[in-house]
Symmetry: C2
Subunit: 132 residues, 2 copies
């Protein structure tokens, strides 16, 4: 089963890998694996909450390990619309999360939603792309 292999690959990087990125890395140590299984495994990992699936607008889904039990590694994203580079930032998170929690409660009540997740992303141009 490739579950372990996929989790290993994801735990070794800060990058946001696409399904094919993951496939290629797993393939190195486990050449029998097929792309289909990668998709299947990712789908399953996302469903049980071990992996997050993101869409940064470049036409392919990207994956990252969900943070541990205490939410230690929680972060948000800063996306360069020029080159696609993504920064995981962990500053400001505390304030953001506090506000989000408050907002979440208000929204839950008003719109009768059971909120399970949130997404915060900033878009802009990184230093390099700004100079072009």
């Amino acid at each position: 089963m490739g579950r372990e292999a996929v989790l290993d690959v994801l735990s070794l990087t800060e990058d946001h890998l696409s399904a094919e990125d993951i496939y290629m890395r797993v393939h190195e140590t486990y050449p029998a694996i097929g792309l289909t299984s990668i998709y299947r495994t990712l789908d399953m990992l996302v469903n049980i909450g071990l992996v997050y699936k993101f869409d940064f607008g470049d036409g392919r889904a990207r994956f990252e390990l969900a943070e541990g039990p205490k939410g230690k590694d929680h972060h948000h994203h800063l996306v360069c619309t020029g080159c696609g580079h993504i920064v995981n930032y962990r500053d400001f998170i505390d304030e953001e999360v506090a506000l989000l929690k408050k907002t979440e409660e208000g929204l839950s009540k008003k719109y009768n939603f059971a909120i399970t997740n949130h997404l915060i992303q900033f878009y802009g141009l990184c230093e390099t792309c700004r100079k072009k």
Copy 2:
């Protein structure tokens, strides 16, 4: 030119239309239009900032009119992962935006980004989907 037609369609709804949704609606009053032109026009409108492009995870891009000059209609999204229903909420926005602005400044400085945009979405289950 379909620019006006596309903007008209978008200004008449609170929904988040896909390219094909827009195509069908424009087609009613402008049957000569082709889907290619819709994509081209949307691309252009997104580039000049008149339209926002979103991805809510259902495999197709969705579009909405950018808010007016004073940002009067600014809102964030509440997405039901069960049925895909999207709520535009305008409550809590003031606090959120204030914090975002502050965060934006910090991130800009620290990571040397020229931030142009942000995205906030909450995910969960709407009342109907929760009962299933």
